[in-house]
């Protein structure tokens, strides 16, 4: 069975003048959403605060829960329907020291106000301000260092800085896109979403290396061709693999998205976005960066 016919030759790189604009606009929207419009909502994990997941055995409307929260004076609380029926998520983002007391007060008060409806507290998270800051810093540190390690390794393996740089720029692109889409979709930035970002980084660098590897091989094979043609050939030669791998992984993530349950839902959504971005960025971010670098900065030494 062949999904991509052998000898397929699509001029991917030739379309880079259009995709460059698409990428630029997409990145601008994403960055704008994250930075200018305060789009990225830090969840309780990073901002500090309280999260309570509550489930009632009898029908309860979301407005009743909101009223109950108002009645006890927690006006800053956000209530949203979550998961199955009669299940809600209550969030208070607040960096203060007495969260434990507040959390207990809310739980007691909810139990009291919905007495006949057997409220079950399914999840409580209380994160103090210090811990949120710690988690943020350490995660940033870990991701930054692993980027650096990837850059060094790829540059060493391919004997050229441009390849490492291309890979990293593509990763940064993917991370920005995932953050942007999360922020536009109103998903909270939580520890689970951070795990998605890490996963996307893994997939994206994998995809990039497969194509770069082929380029390295083809550079030796077609000594007379220019680098742009070689990139095109390499992308086409590995197109079957790209479609199959991305397709298979996408199937798995879609299954997670539809059947994985409420906790995993946002997680799977962010992963879908990251997969698309990761595949796209290999062809239209990583490759053009290498081509640009070799053409203008290191003046074609990339062929040697």
């Amino acid at each position: 069975m062949e999904l991509i016919r052998p000898g397929t030759h699509i001029d991917f790189i030739g379309k880079k003048k259009y995709t460059l604009w698409i990428s630029a606009i997409a990145l601008l929207i994403c960055l704008g959403s994250v930075f200018l419009f305060g789009g990225l909502k830090y969840g309780v994990d990073f901002a500090g605060g309280i999260l309570i997941q509550i489930k009632f055995s009898k029908p309860v409307d979301i407005s009743e829960v909101r009223n109950a929260m108002d009645a006890m004076g927690s006006k800053e609380a956000m209530v949203q329907a979550f998961g199955g029926e009669n299940e809600f998520l209550i969030r208070i983002e607040k960096a203060s020291e007495d969260l434990e007391v507040l959390s207990k007060k809310i739980q007691d008060s909810l139990q009291e106000q919905f007495k006949g409806k057997s409220a079950e507290i399914r999840r409580v998270e209380v994160v103090g301000p210090k811990v949120g800051k710690d988690l943020k810093e350490k995660a940033l540190y870990a991701v930054g260092l692993s980027f650096l390690a990837i850059l060094i390794y790829v540059a060493w393996r391919f004997k050229q800085v441009s390849y490492g740089l291309g890979g990293i720029v593509a990763l940064v692109h993917d991370v920005i896109v995932v953050y942007g889409v999360i922020s536009i979709a109103g998903i909270e930035y939580s520890l689970n979403v951070m795990a998605v970002i890490l996963t996307v980084i893994g997939f994206s660098i994998n995809d990039t290396i497969v194509i770069f590897d082929r380029v390295r091989e083809d550079v030796k094979k077609f000594r007379k061709e220019d680098l742009e043609t070689i990139f095109n050939t390499a992308i086409n030669e590995t197109l079957g693999r790209t479609v199959l791998t991305s397709g298979t992984v996408m199937m798995v993530v879609l299954i997670l998205f539809f059947f994985g349950g409420a906790v995993i839902h946002d997680f799977a959504f962010a992963l879908i976005v990251g997969l698309i971005s990761g595949t796209y960025s290999t062809v239209y971010i990583a490759s053009p960066v290498v081509l640009f670098w070799e053409k203008y900065i290191s003046k074609g030494r990339g062929r040697s």
Partner: protein, 531 residues
């Protein structure tokens, strides 16, 4: 050729069988007892987000421990100065680690005392004005660090003790960094009660009631020197209204809970009240006898965490080392109080920095749905490989299944914890395993198209794909190692499964499938490869 294949086959089969054996305890609980002796693994440890339970990150307020240590030093200093007849003006703690002392007379006497008995104090800026000396005494910084460290160690020990007595299966209580304690209690039902039990300082003190002092005057702000006001809180069982009754007490603590040998709930409740009765150690018993003996007809207040519980009149000298705390306890409260008294008081208050409690039903939900989607995805991927690559797709499927088995087995043997982000790492490594197999297959197909023979195509296909697989897997592995090294909690969980998954992947996708390919094409004259 055949011989080397056979040895490889035996080696790979042994690895597979061993991995399956490691996983058996996770899959079934009905294993014969001899099995556990041979294969010393447990079930795969599930994180609290999956199995439900409570995660608490506490910090011990080391400053407070230093403060009370300095307070103790000040009291000793006061007694020593009095004993030596040195007239003292002011003697106060100025900062948590600093005492101000004013005295008159010869400075040498005080200096002698300090250098003999109080070497942990440093003298700062001594000044003299009209025959009155004023010195500041600072606690040595090494001593400060030591006190803080000891407070953490003690707190860790005491919390461990309390949790053990409370009865939680497989609790984990560990030190994090220098001043944090991580408490993980799987499957806990009553989170509030557990939190109270762990976080209660439980400092028990005995102080005398100041019988001469006027409580009303003191409430207006005229507290007699050396006295302190503390309250007795009580809740009216009928109306539910809380009352606070003030007590004017001598500030000096005569005895603390450190001498408690045992504490039990006593059931001899005359007036429907539950008591907690304490038994003191021998030293404590003597001290208690001495205190009660010299204060007959006075009231002795029993104070727990700055709340007065009762203040009975001492009728006579009490020998035998027993005392009781009375109050309107529910049996549960009394039980917990006895427990914290038995396990000792925390050297400093602890505060909760982070709490995550997942109810058992939510954890079950997550697992059920997670397992369901994993099974569905596994079926879809396995079928897809067979449909697309026909017979050789089965080889890829063997590699995929083996990859998952090896990764889970490694989690079991290293006692790593599987969390939700960990599952994400697993998904990523499975994705990379699929990719590795696709890379190999596509490459072999390509080589066949170039007109190579089957054996040559397989050889070349593996050779070429190997470079790519190693490059992409190593890059991700390097990132994973850094994430593990510098990440915390969930980032680490992700990194662990990812790294193990990648190592398993290199083994299964490159070596195991190659062996099967070689076996399949062993027969000379194999003309067609179903790929």
């Amino acid at each position: 050729m055949l011989k080397s294949l056979r040895w490889k086959f035996i080696l790979y089969a042994a690895v597979t069988v061993f991995a399956i054996l490691l996983l058996l305890p996770t899959l079934t609980s009905q294993l014969p007892s001899w099995f556990m002796k041979v294969i010393p693994t447990d079930k795969i440890h599930l994180g609290l987000d999956l199995q439900g339970g409570m995660y608490l990150l506490l910090t011990v307020e080391g400053e407070k421990a230093v403060e009370s240590y300095v307070e103790q030093i000040r009291n000793n200093l006061k007694d020593e100065l009095k004993e030596r007849g040195i007239p003292v003006g002011r003697l106060e703690t100025e900062k948590p680690d600093r005492i101000v002392l004013e005295f008159s007379g010869a400075k040498e006497k005080v200096d002698n005392l300090l250098s003999q008995r109080f070497t942990m104090l440093h003298e700062l800026s001594p000044s003299s004005e009209g025959g009155i000396w004023k010195v500041r005494l600072v606690l040595d910084s090494r001593e400060t660090d030591y006190v803080k460290k000891r407070a953490i160690d003690q707190a860790l020990e005491i919390i461990r003790n309390r949790v053990d007595q409370f009865g939680v299966a497989e609790p984990e209580i560990t030190l994090q960094g220098t001043d944090r304690i991580l408490v993980q209690l799987p499957g806990i039902k009553d989170a509030e009660r557990a939190k109270k039990l762990i976080g209660q300082t439980a400092l028990l003190e005995f102080k005398l009631v100041d019988e001469e002092g006027d409580v009303d005057e003191a409430l207006k702000g005229n507290i007699p020197p050396g006295d302190v006001i503390l309250y007795q809180r009580s809740v009216d069982p009928q109306t539910g209204a809380a009352r606070r009754m003030p007590f004017l007490l001598k500030e000096k603590t005569l005895m603390t809970g450190e001498f408690i040998k045992d504490a039990r709930v006593s059931l001899e409740s005359g007036f429907g009240e539950t008591h907690v009765s304490m038994e003191f150690t021998d030293v404590g018993a003597k001290l208690f006898e001495q205190i009660t003996g010299s204060n007959v007809k006075k009231r002795l207040a029993i104070i727990l965490d700055n709340n007065v519980y009762s203040a009975p009149v001492i009728q006579e000298r009490i020998a035998g080392g027993r005392a009781q705390i009375t109050g309107r306890f529910t049996p549960e409260e009394a039980n917990d109080l006895a427990l914290v008294l038995r396990s000792g008081s925390l050297p400093a208050p602890v505060t909760i920095l982070e709490e995550r409690t997942v109810g058992p039903s939510l954890g079950e939900d997550s697992i059920r749905k997670g397992i369901f989607s994993i099974i569905v995805s596994a079926i879809v991927v396995v079928l897809f490989m067979v449909v697309y690559y026909k017979a050789t797709g089965i080889i890829a499927d063997v590699a995929l299944v083996l990859n998952v088995v090896l990764t889970l087995a490694a989690l079991a043997i290293f006692r790593a914890t599987l969390t939700l982000p960990g599952i994400a790492g697993l998904v990523l490594s499975i994705g990379m395993a699929v990719d590795a197999n696709i890379l190999v297959h596509e490459r072999i197909k390509e080589e066949l198209r170039w007109g190579k023979t089957i054996r040559a195509a397989i050889d070349q296909g593996y050779h070429r794909a190997f470079i790519t697989i190693i490059d992409s897997n190593l890059t991700t592995l390097i990132a994973g190692v850094f994430l593990y090294q510098f990440g915390t909690g969930p980032v680490r969980g992700f990194a662990v499964t990812l790294c193990i998954g990648i190592l398993a992947n290199i083994f299964t996708a490159v070596y195991v499938t190659r062996l099967i390919f070689d076996f399949v094409t062993l027969r000379p004259g194999t003309k067609k490869l179903s790929i």
